[in-house]
């Protein structure tokens, strides 16, 4: 893969590393220096890597990963998950989130793996991140709704159902629509029981 020039995705006032970790310029420079020295100890010249991060590129792009590698990881993650091995899929989804955190599908995949592992807080954060990365996508709301009901947060569940209906388009499978309807009914029953 050819080395691309750093893009101008980030305003010059704050570089990508400052934004990524919400650090001041001086603190970010110190972090960069640590990174530079630690990578150098490992035999790695991190200058270009840091320059790309400063330019706002993702970690995968800054590392110059070959094209197709992230897609390969995604494909294998889906396959592992499909045969029931969420434990194998989770690190792959996590790596994908690190490599390119702008893709909502990666975050949803990670969230579902975390949900299966009963890491509800992690799953909630992952679904929220997916919703932030891809606004107007109904899938994170679908999973977040189930998570909210599971956690007993009925208000949040109702919000997620509303968010799902607002964002659901033709790409949403029918099974998801029927599932969200079942969850809505369960939520209503729960409220009626409390009432």
């Amino acid at each position: 893969m050819s080395v691309t020039e750093p893009s101008d995705a980030v305003a010059p006032e704050r570089n990508g590393i400052e934004v990524m970790f919400d650090l001041s310029r001086a603190d970010a420079e110190l972090l960069e220096e640590f990174c530079r020295r630690l990578l150098r100890q490992a035999g790695i010249d991190g200058e270009q890597f840091l320059r790309r991060l400063q330019a706002g590129e993702s970690m995968g792009a800054a590392l110059g990963l070959p094209p197709g590698i992230t897609e390969l990881l995604y494909s294998r993650a889906c396959r592992w998950f499909g045969i029931g091995r969420a434990d194998r899929a989770e690190p792959l989804f996590r790596a994908l989130c690190i490599a390119d955190g702008q893709v909502g599908d990666y975050w949803v995949g990670l969230g579902i793996c975390l949900r299966i592992r009963e890491d509800l807080d992690g799953a909630r954060l992952a679904f929220a991140t997916a919703a932030r990365m891809r606004p107007g996508w109904a899938v994170p709301a679908f999973h977040a709704c189930e998570l909210a009901i599971r956690s007993g947060d009925l208000g949040a569940a109702a919000e997620e159902i509303a968010r799902f209906h607002a964002a659901a388009d033709d790409t949403i499978p029918e099974r998801m629509r029927s599932e969200i309807e079942r969850m809505r009914k369960a939520l209503d029953m729960r409220r009626d029981r409390r009432a």
């Binding site: 650090l23 035999g43 010249d45 110059g64 390969l72 998950f81 029931g84 899938v139 009914k185 029953m189």
Partner: protein, 463 residues
């Protein structure tokens, strides 16, 4: 609890609607049965995923709990709704295979005695003519850059006391301030600019001679353990023939190339001098000192006349920490010279005061660690700050770190950023490396299965 008629009927309707799912075991009393999904059941055996890159013809991934079961709840259990992997299988597998093969080739090239190594050693280079041919060229001081032909960016030299080519690319100091010099073998003193891509080994691969591997990990997260590509100018490179695979190969190669301290079999290997190593006693370019001039004594005892090889002996002894004296090195036959060197190397480990004293750390670092408020800092914070301070920061950077250390909120935020950065980087690289290895293993397994399958068919045919 009594339920009203409409609610009861609605519940019954729901029960019919969701079928088996509503009868899920382990239902929590606090939750309606609708959302009590059965726990994921384990899948026996290791699935073969070599076809993981095959195009997916539908989007019903199912779930670990019950793949393809229409009665199974999907929420939180299924990847339904996510985009399908669209990458062509052949291209991805070819890329992975290229990386795996490049890794094997690079590892083979880095292996001592390999044809690539021999070719590299046979290359003419400045200064090599003055060296006696009895010494292995790849082990000679100054030979490290040439080994970069087969394994660019790495040196295979290390002294018997673990003093190796510790000089880093631009400053010649590895982890100054540490009590022991960070002798990172497999790290070239100065990789040639514009040469072949410098491959990086991860922390796991950068062997620090004389120090256990776990001491090389950074405290917060662990430095990257995997691979990282570096381009021609130390930039992260890309592509299958780039640095990813070579970095992994270097990981193994650098470990193989590490000279064992005190190995009698390596007694004939000249030791890099202070000037060549750049940090014989922990300081760049510092003269060796602290021990009597044993080289002169040995020379006079041997009573031999001085030959051109004497310079080599002097350099080797100086590399051991003995001060070299001009004109004092004796001439010796090759066998006796090797014996003298071997005895020095072996006896050096029993000498009082060995290894020679080295500078512990910068005064500024001592001052920094002394000012840390150990009562307020947690043990992890303290360890992390001390570790970071010893990375060779400038005075101004140390002051900045000290200011951070004394403000709880900023300190916490900064250390979180450091930890998050390296945890993320390490996780990404480790996962990448493991997956590439898995793919390579699966391809080997595929070939084996194919071969065994054909053999079995033949046997069946014979029966």
């Amino acid at each position: 609890m009594l339920l009203g008629g409409p609610l009861l009927s609605a519940q019954i309707e729901l029960i019919k609607e969701i079928g088996r799912n509503i009868a899920g075991a382990g239902a929590s009393p606090d939750l309606p049965p609708l959302i009590n999904f059965p726990a994921a059941r384990p899948v026996a055996g290791q699935p073969h995923t070599s076809d993981a890159t095959a195009p997916v013809d539908d989007n019903s991934y199912g779930s670990p709990a019950n793949a393809g079961d229409p009665g199974q709840s999907l929420a939180g259990r299924s990847l339904l709704g996510l985009r399908l992997p669209v990458a062509p299988a052949g291209e991805l597998l070819r890329a992975a295979a290229q990386i795996a093969h490049a890794q094997e080739a690079a590892a083979a090239a880095a292996r001592p005695g390999s044809p690539a190594q021999r070719d590299a050693a046979a290359l003419p280079r400045a200064g090599a003519d003055a060296l006696p041919p009895a010494y292995p060229a790849t082990a000679l001081p100054g030979a490290a850059p040439q080994t970069g032909k087969a394994n660019p960016g790495y040196a295979a030299t290390a002294g018997p006391s673990g003093k190796a080519a510790v000089a880093t690319a631009d400053e010649g100091v590895a982890a100054p301030g540490t009590s022991r010099p960070k002798a990172v073998s497999g790290q070239a003193a100065t990789p040639p600019r514009g040469s072949a891509p410098m491959m990086a080994s991860g922390t796991r691969g950068a062997t620090t001679a004389g120090e256990p591997p776990d001491r090389q990990e950074m405290p917060a997260s662990g430095a990257p353990k995997g691979i990282l590509a570096a381009g021609p100018e130390g930039t992260p490179a890309a592509g299958p023939e780039g640095t990813l695979a070579a970095g992994m190969a270097e990981d193994h190669a650098s470990r193989r190339a590490t000279v064992r301290p005190g190995d009698p079999a390596q007694a004939s290997v000249p030791i890099p001098t202070s000037a060549e190593v750049g940090m014989a006693d922990g300081r760049p370019g510092a003269p060796a000192a602290g021990l009597p001039d044993a080289s002169a004594a040995a020379a006079s005892k041997a009573g031999m006349e001085r030959t051109p090889d004497a310079a080599l002996v002097e350099r080797a002894l100086a590399g051991l920490g003995f001060a070299a004296t001009a004109g004092a090195a004796p001439p010796q036959p090759a066998t006796e010279r090797a014996g003298v060197l071997a005895s020095f190397i072996l006896n050096a480990h029993f000498l009082p005061g060995w290894p020679p004293p080295r500078p512990i750390e910068q005064p500024e670092v001592r001052q920094f660690t002394a000012t840390l408020d150990r009562a307020l800092l947690g043990p992890e914070e303290l360890e992390a700050l001390e570790y970071l301070a010893r990375l060779g920061l400038t005075v101004e950077q140390l002051r900045r770190l000290a200011r951070l250390a004394h403000k709880a909120r900023k300190r916490s935020k900064f250390l979180d950023a450091v930890a998050g950065f390296f945890v993320s980087l390490g996780a990404l690289l480790t996962t990448l490396q493991e997956e590439l290895e898995n793919i390579a293993d699966e391809q080997v397994a595929d070939r084996r299965i194919e071969a065994e399958g054909s053999g079995r068919r033949e046997r069946i045919a014979l029966l």
